[in-house]
């Protein structure tokens, strides 16, 4: 299932995005560069503020932790030195979670994190904040080996129903990659070996980053035909989303 995304649909925010995937729906908004409070002002770079707001209730330490992770990851991709003494304000509102979210017995911050990262990036793109690179993120679950299956197959971007069914989960991994295939974020939890982490890493890299060989136009054009091809690769998908947005914005120009 490819994620659904719509960009720049809010009127007040400088940039916005809604991201829907596997029952998660997150609305992201970015304001920036705007005036920064004196207390937070930095002379040589932009201040980044991330707000994560849960679907129900007010923010708890769990949201603060997610904010910290998002902050440090986004700080490494935003060209903060290009817009010094300003503020980039990122607000992520969780609109809905899948029904089984709480019951699948896994850490719910990890299942939410890749969706938050992807939403934040889309919103940043929509607000035209200068970025060093893009990022794509996903979740991988490794089920516990059973007598029947000694080598369990890792599940890529599992839905919460899948997580619920494949209990017990041995380990959960969240990866985020930049466009130049660098690992920007990794959060793993459970019991695993380094080799398993490496295997998950390689799987995630394959899905997140597109083939280095086919950087040319060839790879991009095939995907215009339908959305399904893009679903296999997150970076292709992301490029597709942005391409569609630009096409809509330029429709007058291209028509004349």
């Amino acid at each position: 299932m490819a994620p659904e995304a719509s960009l720049s649909h809010l009127h007040r925010a400088d940039g916005s995005a809604t991201y829907i995937h596997n029952g998660y729906c997150i609305i992201g908004a970015v304001n920036g560069p705007i005036e920064v409070m004196r207390r937070d002002e930095m002379p040589e770079e932009a201040t980044i503020e991330v707000n994560v707001r849960p679907a129900a209730g007010v923010g708890s330490p769990k949201e603060r932790h997610l904010e910290t992770l998002l902050h440090s990851t986004l700080r490494s991709i935003i060209l903060t030195r290009n817009i010094p003494r300003t503020l980039v304000q990122i607000t992520l509102q969780v609109r809905s979670l899948p029904e089984e979210d709480g019951t699948s017995g896994v850490n719910t911050s990890l299942t939410l994190l890749p969706h938050l990262l992807n939403t934040a990036l889309l919103a940043l793109l929509s607000a035209s904040i200068p970025l060093r690179t893009i990022l794509t993120s996903l979740l991988i679950a490794l089920p516990t080996p059973t007598p029947k299956m000694k080598q369990p197959v890792p599940i890529l971007s599992p839905t919460s129903t899948e997580l619920f069914r494949t209990q017990p989960i041995a380990s959960l991994h969240v990866f985020a990659f930049s466009a130049d295939r660098k690992l920007l974020l990794s959060e793993s939890e459970g019991t695993f070996k380094y080799a398993e982490w490496e295997e998950a890493y390689e799987m995630a890299e394959e899905v997140c980053c597109r083939d280095q060989g086919g950087v040319g136009l060839g790879g991009g054009e095939g995907m215009e035909v339908d959305g399904e091809e893009a679903s296999a690769n997150l970076e292709e998908w992301l490029r597709g989303v942005v391409r569609r947005k630009v096409e809509v914005e330029q429709r007058w120009r291209s028509a004349t």
Binding site: S76, K182, L184
Partner: protein, 348 residues
């Protein structure tokens, strides 16, 4: 140390502390890239792969069921574990399926659903210049609590069995034995463990220090024997210390934190070549303020060194550490595990 810095910039040099305060990034870079030594030392005198060895003292607090003081270099933490009783009738059965079984099954749902473990972190006044006293818990403290809590739950350190307060009704038990010999055990309550960690001083690597303190405190925890009194119909605790129970911990997960220092490139557009970066073990507060990328690896080798299991990998903030460096870091963490485990053993 001081002379070395002076050598690097002989004539127009600042005194060392002023150089560090004015331009922290070049200061550390000058240290790490100083020529002529196989392992150039960091500003604090350690080499990149050096950890600070913790020193631990348990049983420091008298009014807790378990406590520990841990010092890791300039970071000192006190951890106190206090058990309080959650009455059976206050348990909202809707929250979680409760089974009185003694099994080794997955009890995370029970512990997290009933919130039987409550960690808290406090940065005391004066522990770090970054912390303003009198404010609500900062984002830093809240992040730390969340990480500690999820580590406590995901490593399944505590057994729910140790926290249950059981009661076997005498009359019923006899009857049952005739039928299928399984006595009806009721859960009359739970121990809720309040795990408070207070930072007396904070010089980097808060998570490692806090976690080692929590481990030591939990290992020294003795919960008094609690039982259900039929006549009073309440849960009461025994006053005899000899009846107190130890907690049986599952494994011994130990975290190691690393900071990644990226060499500064002159201009923004200029991409750095990837070689000018160092991974520093166990960063202190100064290094944490300069480094952006942080890695934390939690390993557990209690099943034997060759079966070293990774319990958690956290990494964010930059793109230097890939899978190759991570392999090295997991190895470094395993070495660190042995050292810390040794120190913890000595205390017990």
């Amino acid at each position: 140390m001081a002379t070395k810095t002076a050598n690097a910039a002989p004539a127009l040099s600042f005194p060392r502390p002023i150089f560090a305060a004015l331009s922290p990034h070049p200061f550390l870079q000058a240290h790490l890239s100083s020529q002529g030594q196989a392992k150039p030392p960091r500003a604090n005198g350690r080499t990149a792969a050096d950890f600070r060895t913790p020193s631990i003292k348990t049983g420091a607090l008298t009014h807790c069921h378990g406590s520990a003081v841990v010092r890791v270099g300039g970071t000192s933490v006190v951890c106190g574990v206090r058990g309080e009783i959650l009455r059976g009738e206050d348990v909202q059965t809707a929250d979680v399926e409760v089974s009185a079984g003694n099994g080794e099954g997955d009890d995370t749902a029970e512990i997290s659903g009933l919130r039987l473990l409550v960690p808290n972190v406090e940065l005391s006044t004066g522990s770090t210049p970054l912390h303003i006293p009198g404010n609500a818990p900062s984002g830093y403290a809240q992040t730390l609590v969340t990480r500690l809590r999820s580590l406590l739950l995901s490593t399944r350190l505590i057994r729910a069995r140790d926290l249950r307060i059981l009661y076997t009704p005498p009359g019923v038990a006899d009857e049952m034995e005739e039928e299928d010999s399984v006595p009806e055990v009721e859960i009359k309550g739970y121990w809720v463990l309040y795990i408070d960690t207070v930072f007396i001083s904070l010089d980097g690597n808060a998570l490692d220090a806090a976690w080692i303190a929590i481990l030591a405190a939990l290992a020294s925890t003795r919960l008094p024997k609690a039982y259900f009194d039929e006549e009073l119909e309440i849960v009461v605790c025994s006053d005899t210390p000899s009846e107190a129970q130890k907690l049986e911990l599952r494994g011994l997960p130990i975290p190691s934190t690393f900071a990644v220092f990226e060499g500064q490139f002159e201009q923004e557009g200029e991409e750095y070549d990837g070689e000018e970066s160092w991974v520093l073990n166990d960063p202190d507060a100064f290094e944490e303020s300069v480094c952006r990328e942080m890695v934390c690896v939690v390993v557990d080798g209690s099943e034997g060194m060759n079966k070293m299991a990774v319990k958690r990998i956290e990494k964010s903030g930059g793109g230097v550490v890939g899978k190759d460096i991570m392999k090295v870091l997991v190895k470094r963490s395993a070495e660190r595990w042995q050292i810390v485990q040794g120190v913890l053993k000595e205390v017990e």
